[in-house]
Every structure is written in C-alpha cells, then in structure tokens.
Symmetry: C2
Subunit: 367 residues, 2 copies
C-alpha cells in the first residue's frame, strides 16, 4: 500500500488502482487558460481584485509558473481581499517535483509572456447572451490532436485550468447537458453566490439557440451556448491524451463539468481519468463535487490533503476558511507531486514551499 | 558499429558518437514556421508556385504532417514547376517511425489549422529594409524556455523549419555575423540564384541600424536587421533543449545559419548538436554546407542517404537533379527514423512511402 498525503474522496478502489499506475512516474503538467465576459458580472468571481482585472489573471498565473513572478500585472493575482491565486500552490509543486509544464490557450484576451500552445480559440462572451463561444468544435478538435501528441512523450498528464468565472459556466454547461448541478458548484469566495449563478445560467439557457435535446446530445452545443473557452480545449486534450496515458484532471467542480463534456464526446477514455483536487474542495459544505462526478461515472477523486492552518501568514491561513480552494490545477498537481516523489513530498513540504513563496511574492507586490 | 542509411558527411567520429547516443531512442519532432517578405522578391524562392503564395507554404506543410492533406490551400505546396514540398518526406518519416510532432510559430502571416506553439513572434519584413524583425530577443527567450520544457519529456529532439526565402536570410545573417557564406547557401531551385541573393543581402546590410561590430558580437542584432522569424525561435529551442538532451538540427544551410546563431548565444550546447540533412544537400555542387559548419565548430553532419532515382514519378525523380533538396526537416527526420528503428527503416522504405504519398496527394490536387 502506497502512503501519500492524499484523500480518496470518491471511488476509493479505482483511486487506489490509479495511484498504483502512476506511482513514482514523471508527470507532465498543462494549464488551460481562457477569459469570459461572464467573469465580469459583479459578485460572481473572486479571481481578481476587481471584475475588469479578471482578464489578466490567467496570463499572470502562467507567468508565475514560468518566472516566479508576473509580467502582465504587478504583483500576483489576488482576490478582492488580497488573498493570492492558487497558482502559488501550483508554482510550489513545480519547484518541489520535477515535471514539464505547458500553457494551453483556450481563448484569452490577455496573452502570457511565455511560450504556450495555440488552438484557434477565442475569448468567451457573457453566457447570458446564450452565445458564449463561436467555434468550440474547432478548438476541441485541435485539442484532441494536441492531447495525442503530448501522450506520446508523457508518462501521465495533469491538466488544470485558470479562468475567472469558471464555476458559473461550469454550472451552465452541466445544466444544459441535463446534469443536476444546482447548488453543487464551488466558489472562490467564502459565501458561494449560488442564486446569482443560477440566475445567470437561467438567463443564458433561455437565450440558447439550441433546443434542450440538442444540448443534451451534443456537449459542444452546450459549450457553445453557455460555456467558456477553457472547456473545449481542456476536454479535447483529456480526450486525446487519455486514449493512451493516465490523466489527472486537476480542478474542482469546473473540471467536473469538463469531465461531463468528455463523457459525452469520448466516453471510452474515462477509465484512464481521475479528478485531482484539494481537501478544501472535497470538504466544502457549499458545493458537492462528489454529487457531480457521481452522475458522470465511477471516476475516482484524489484530493491533496493540504492544510494551511499552520501557516505563518493570514493570507494563507484563510484558505482554511474556504477562500480560493482550488484553481491553476493546484490540487491535482499537488497529488502528482506527492505520487511522483513516492510520498516524500507531502502536505508539510508543500506548506513550507508555499509559505516561502508567499513571502517572496508579497514583498514584490508591496515594493 | 550501427548500420543505417546515413552518410557521415562531416566530423565522422563525432557523428558516430552522436549516433551511438540516440540509437534506438524515440525522437520528438518540431518544425518552426515563419513568413518573410524577402520570399516575395521575384526569383528568390521556389517554395510556392508564385511568390505571393509563399505565405501559405509553412502552414500548409504543418497541416500535411497532421492530416496528410492541407487546409489553408488546395493540394500541397509545390514549386513553380509542380514539384512537391519536401514536407512529403517529413510526412512519410512520421508515418514510418513513431514520434511526437509539434509546430512552433516563429512568426507567420497564415496560421495552420492545427495546434502549435506560440512564442510572440511576428512575420518578417523584406531584409532589404535592414529592419527585418521587431523583437527577436523576446522570441528567442520564449523559445529557450520552450526548449527546456520539451527536453524534460523527450529523449532527443529533431528540429526543422519551413520558411520560404530562408536561404537568402541565412546568407544575410551569416554575413552579418562575419561568416563567409558567399556562394555557400543552398537553393530550392536547380540554378542557385547566388548573385540575386548577394545583392539582396548587400542592400539589407547597408541599411542595417547596427554597426558591423554590433552584429558580429550579438547574433540577435544580425537577425533583427537581416534575418527571418524562424531563426530566433529555432535557435532558442535548440539552446534550451540541448542544455540537457541531444538535438538534431534538421536542415541544410538555413539550419547552419541557425547553428551560427546558437554558437553566438549558447556555445556550450553545441556538443549536444548534430546537423541532420539530405544527401542532396551534402552532394550539392552549388552550395557548401560543410564550408559553413567548419567555421562554426566540429559539429557532425549526418545526411540521410535518400535516393529518388528509382521513383515511379517524374515529380520525385527530379529531386536527383537538385530541385527542392531539403526543408520541413526532411533530412534530419529521415535520419531520426533510420536511427530510432535501428536501421530497419532506410532509403528504400522511405522511397516506397514517399511514392505512395505522392500518388495520394497529387490525386487530391487534380480533383
């Protein structure tokens, strides 16, 4: 029995088998970025100090992973109350465990000053229009090709996301595909604005140019109407890569929505997939990731047993109150760091690294 | 002694050591694409039926590798006399030998409908302006980061290029850096237009905003004045990857110019590098790739001993007259296919595959 700081939060037996397959192997990390006007609806996202700045958050997150600092903004992305991006966790995992990292542009307004994969995606519109994306099929198809290429050289893939407003579009796409997502999606805020999310989704669905039936049958129609540009890119890469290698879908309820899309388009690959997330997601009382995954299939949830309660910094201890929770693949990449190091890296090492990066990043911010 | 259909065309001992290191290993292929207005100078390039269409050639080449057909143009890129792109060789090698493939955008006007890496590059201007590129340093730095990431998952890298007009910019950059390139660069045409190339280069150098000394000291200044967008991208990826893994620079005299850039910016990596090209290049009487490499250092040249003399098709037999010769990494990827298969794939298997692809592609064209 392999020992690592992870919680088998759903489908424990399948989870242990998945861990067995990737134990000690070298992961490859990819983060899919996108922007959506949905993020700018006041009160919806905490992924940026003010709504307008959410356009910069994904590019800044990618730069953080490459340079240990951001270029498109000063300092690092923070919530309106100054709590840092979960990218600080991802960055720390990349420092502790050797793995390659790639950014994938699903459709951003602000591009990172780093190398990244381009897939012909475009930024998403406000889902209340019912016309969120122009051509998710083209992006999905490009992404499948990319996933297949990545799989040829990788032992296994960890894929995360950075897109503000993403839990609302996740709810929308889940509902459009006929899943029960109401009250189940997570939030980067302590008080999850479920009713604002539901209102936004309802408005979008009522204006969708497709029938209910069409969107249930074709996930890309659901995405086109009320999704975001991260989704077809992430779903395609998962579909292409998991044909041949294990894939950790690194995220919470947003990745659960991507998994539902994968199920609709490439159901055979799900046996190669696990959801990798944080303890904060699986213990969250204001969302229900298990309740979503359960509707998709018997895909295991592996949660990194991170705990920032002993941090020296208020801005990190507050993660224990349920702020931020997940993003930029933080949970899944932590799981991968634990497994690739055969348990030598764990929650303690992660907190030390995150504490130390926090000091560096916040001192840059206040210069 | 490993047996494969390759010619040790320069620095044989170093070449045999290089072959020893990669024998039986799995290559990763990358092709760097770019466009330059220089290609549109009449009489300079055969990489397109007419000069204006050279903008489409690199994207079409990449699509050929992904789909076995092109999307941005009907048919495939051909010379003015209808001879197909060397991408048909690259495509055949990819079918015969398992390897991952990536396109890297150095700066194109026409983007391929495939996934590709973006590096913040832009298309190049006519080098006669002396201001060919805007910011090759940014592209080079992004490319170094990309090379390092690719190296983490790859056993060794094969990097080719597709950019029309590239031998003229190669000559220009070699001369700007103080190398003797006159009469030494290759051509996709049977009659190498050396004097037109030299006139073009002389015009560019006379308008360069940097002094001779500045361009000799800093290859990126030479590239900025009279280079093309493929160069900083390819040089950076080589510099980043060859820090830790073997790299086959797949091309003829264009790649020799890139190697000269690498020598100026990251000389330590050259011990990890070989030039991989075709017999048509090393036997070409109208150019002198050894004469260029000799000025750089003791880097081996490995040439795929391809011979299309026995082809069923005029359009392929004419390669033996010196038309096309190299491009899209054709020679280097053939070398890699031979070595990764431990010699099981050779010149005969390549000709069979190319013959068969020729029939398929030409029948599409004439529909």
């Amino acid at each position: 029995m392999h020992k690592a700081d992870i919680i088998y939060a759903f489908e424990e037996q399948a989870g242990k088998k998945f861990v067995e397959r990737v134990w000690g192997k070298r992961p490859t990390f990819a983060v899919v970025i996108g922007n959506t006007e949905t993020a700018k609806i006041p009160g919806l996202s905490a992924a940026g100090a003010v709504p307008a700045i959410t356009d910069f958050t994904p590019a800044a997150d990618v730069e953080l992973l490459y340079y240990g600092r951001c270029k498109v903004i000063d300092g690092v992305p923070v919530t309106p109350t100054g709590v840092p991006t979960p990218g600080i966790i991802t960055m720390s995992a990349l420092q502790l465990a050797p793995m390659s990292k790639y950014a994938i542009n699903g459709g951003v307004r602000v591009r990172p000053h780093t190398p990244y994969f381009e897939l012909e995606g475009e930024p998403g519109d406000d889902i209340r229009t019912g016309k969120a994306l122009k051509d998710p099929k083209r992006v999905y198809e490009n992404a499948v090709l990319l996933g297949r290429e990545l799989a040829k050289d990788c032992e296994y893939l960890v894929i995360g996301e950075s897109i503000a407003g993403g839990t609302t579009t996740a709810l929308a796409v889940l509902m459009a595909m006929g899943y029960d997502g109401a009250g189940k999606v997570s939030s980067s805020m302590i008080d999850n604005p479920h009713s604002l999310k539901t209102d936004t989704v309802t408005a979008g669905l009522s204006r969708a140019p497709f029938s209910k039936e069409e969107m249930r049958k074709d996930p890309l129609k659901a995405v086109q109407a009320v999704g975001d540009p991260m989704m077809p890119a992430a779903a395609g890469v998962v579909a292409g890569a998991a044909e041949s290698i294990p894939v950790i879908m690194a995220g919470g309820t947003q990745m659960a929505a991507v998994m539902a899309i994968v199920k609709g388009l490439a159901p055979n690959v799900l046996g190669n997939v696990a959801l990798g997330t944080t303890r904060w997601i699986v213990e969250d009382k204001s969302s229900d990731v298990r309740g979503i995954i359960k509707q998709i299939g018997n895909v295991p949830i592996l949660a990194a047993d991170l705990n920032f309660g002993a941090s020296k910094h208020d801005g990190l201890r507050i993660f224990e109150q349920g702020l931020v929770k997940e993003g930029v693949g933080a949970g899944g990449i932590s799981v991968a760091a634990f497994l690739s190091s055969k348990g030598k890296i764990g929650a303690k090492e992660m907190l030390e690294a995150v504490d130390s990066n926090y000091v560096k990043l916040m001192s840059v911010m206040h210069k």
